[in-house]
Amino acid sequence: MIAADTPDHRAARLLTVGPDGEIRHRRRSDLATLFDPGDVVVANDAATLPASLHGRHEATGAPVEIRLAGWVTPGDPTRFRAIAFGPGDHRTRTEHRPPPPRLTPGDRLRLGPLTAVIERLLDHPRLAALRFVGNRASVLAGLARHGRPIQYAHVPAPLALWDVWTSIAADPVAFEPPSAGFALDWRTIAAWRERGVRLATLTHAAGISSTGDLALDARLPFDEPYRIPEATSDAIHRAKRRGRRIIALGTTVVRALEAAASSGGGVIAGAGIARNRIGPETRLAVPDTVLTGMHAPGESHYELLRAFADDGTLRRAAESAHEGGYRSHEFGDVMLLARQRVATMSWPATEHEEGCAMVLS
């Protein structure tokens, strides 16, 4: 696949994988007509913080980049978990970035107009809890002025906030954009409304997707706070009861829905922290389909996709995307992946009925 290296032509193409594994090539605009009346599309309406901050380590004068990566107390913008890098910027691949100066509790970092104090290290020399000096308003003002969106070497040009806010971006709680939302525009949402397809949202504080450090990457995704409105929980219950589909826009939505899944087949409204990991062993309770970027084996999001489809199906989809020249990464093309039908054994109810039947559920 080709890396999408600018935010300009996002999500132009759409690869669909049906419940029976059938692969089709479509346009992103076809999303407007792919769902049926009563289906519910769930999207993450988190807006993205400018979470990359360049500055200096006060004690040594050494350059440092801080990437805010997680909330300490959800909604309190004065304290974060953060990843630290040494000199350089996003144009260097994260795995090649030099380490930050040795950080110890009490160290101060000068980050433009902001001052951060290291509170403690979190079992890794690059991962720390920090506190900004100031109150909510002054810290937000400092972030707004000095912070830049977190970005990676495949997009060399500097990104602005408008590049990383989706059309539905509302509350700025994510550290990286919930990028499946880039496939959404208000024309598509209006077309869904006319078809009777419901757009529902949740707010999930999408965290950092890559650190360049193997030990840290193995700990991703970090715990992520989320909130599910009553209206969304109600819409999911109604759709489930009527046998309609739940389409999750992005992996963050899958994670939040599964974290909030109730035993009755719906989701519990309210605030929570997603600590779950989703992989091939996960029995998904809520989403029937996921809209996702193009992910290859080895990437962290790929594990989550294995909850929807077996490796053979995912491999065929990846090959088809590769041959078709699909573009990868957050500003690239998208894939609509249905949970694959699995054969389940249905045992006879009485001894008088013979054998067992394979049914498709």
Partner: protein
């Protein structure tokens, strides 16, 4: 940004808890709106260009003051981030900041293109950009059954062809028409748009435009704000009725 842990729906009685952003909040109508909405228990963030005056109005009212210029593209998202982050979302956006264009007022034939562009940048493109940046927050408010209203402040100069009001009148006419189109498009999402002419007020802007007017013949900005707040109350109540009818 409080929403994730500390979510409270905006109160349905009065304006208590309603999340409001007002541009041009340190003078005239804007300052009167900041004062009155703050006194009514709303959660208010306001924007203005001059840091000292922002600090002064914030200290006086308890509202959150943000320094920025809606005429500058690069100021818009930092402002949207601070508005949505501080208030934890947004229910009501009042695009009030505006400039007259060249002062003293002059005929269009004498108006520099750059001055017309600047009037459009502040009075038309600025409100468009800020509304677009905050549209997701407003749509979220609407989905949760709160306010979701955008008020664009216009003028009788948008309707009448007053000589020498070309830059201002043109920008306000475009803003009024844009409000109507926004309203038609956004109504299904539950977001309403109002274009409101507050009338001739005793403000620094009016004095700059028409210095010979007797201030006693002009409306006090406090009274114009009170009238506007009543219109907003009615619009929010209409919305509530429509929402209840839709969900019934």
């Amino acid at each position: 940004m409080t929403k994730i842990t500390d979510f409270k729906p905006a109160a349905d009685k009065g304006f208590r808890g309603l999340r409001i952003a007002i541009t041009g909040g340190t003078s005239g109508l804007g300052r009167a709106l900041v004062r009155q909405f703050s006194a009514a228990g709303a959660r208010v963030a306001f924007v203005a260009r001059t840091a000292d005056r922002v600090k002064q109005v914030a200290a006086e009212t308890g509202a959150v003051g943000l320094v920025g210029d809606v005429g500058l593209k690069d100021d818009i998202y930092p402002l949207a981030l601070q508005i949505a982050g501080t208030l934890g979302g947004l229910d009501l956006l009042i695009n009030n900041a505006s400039i007259l264009g060249p002062v003293p007022l002059i005929p269009l034939a004498d108006t520099d293109c750059e001055d017309l562009e600047q009037a459009l940048a502040v009075n038309l493109v600025g409100p468009f950009r800020l509304t677009k940046a905050l549209y997701g927050a407003l749509a979220s408010s609407a989905r949760e059954g709160h306010g979701a209203l955008v008020v664009n402040i216009t003028s009788d100069a948008a309707v009448n062809a007053y000589p020498e009001w070309g830059a201002y009148g043109t920008s306000k006419a475009a803003l009024a028409h844009m409000s109507a189109i926004w309203d038609a498009e956004a109504a299904p999402q539950g977001i309403r748009f109002l274009a409101v002419d507050p009338g001739d007020m005793d403000t620094a802007m009016h004095a700059a435009a028409l210095p010979d007017t007797d201030p006693a013949t002009l409306k006090r900005p406090e009274d114009a704000a009170a009238e506007l707040i009543e219109r907003i109350r009615a619009a929010l109540a209409d919305r509530q009725t429509a929402l209840e009818a839709a969900s019934a």
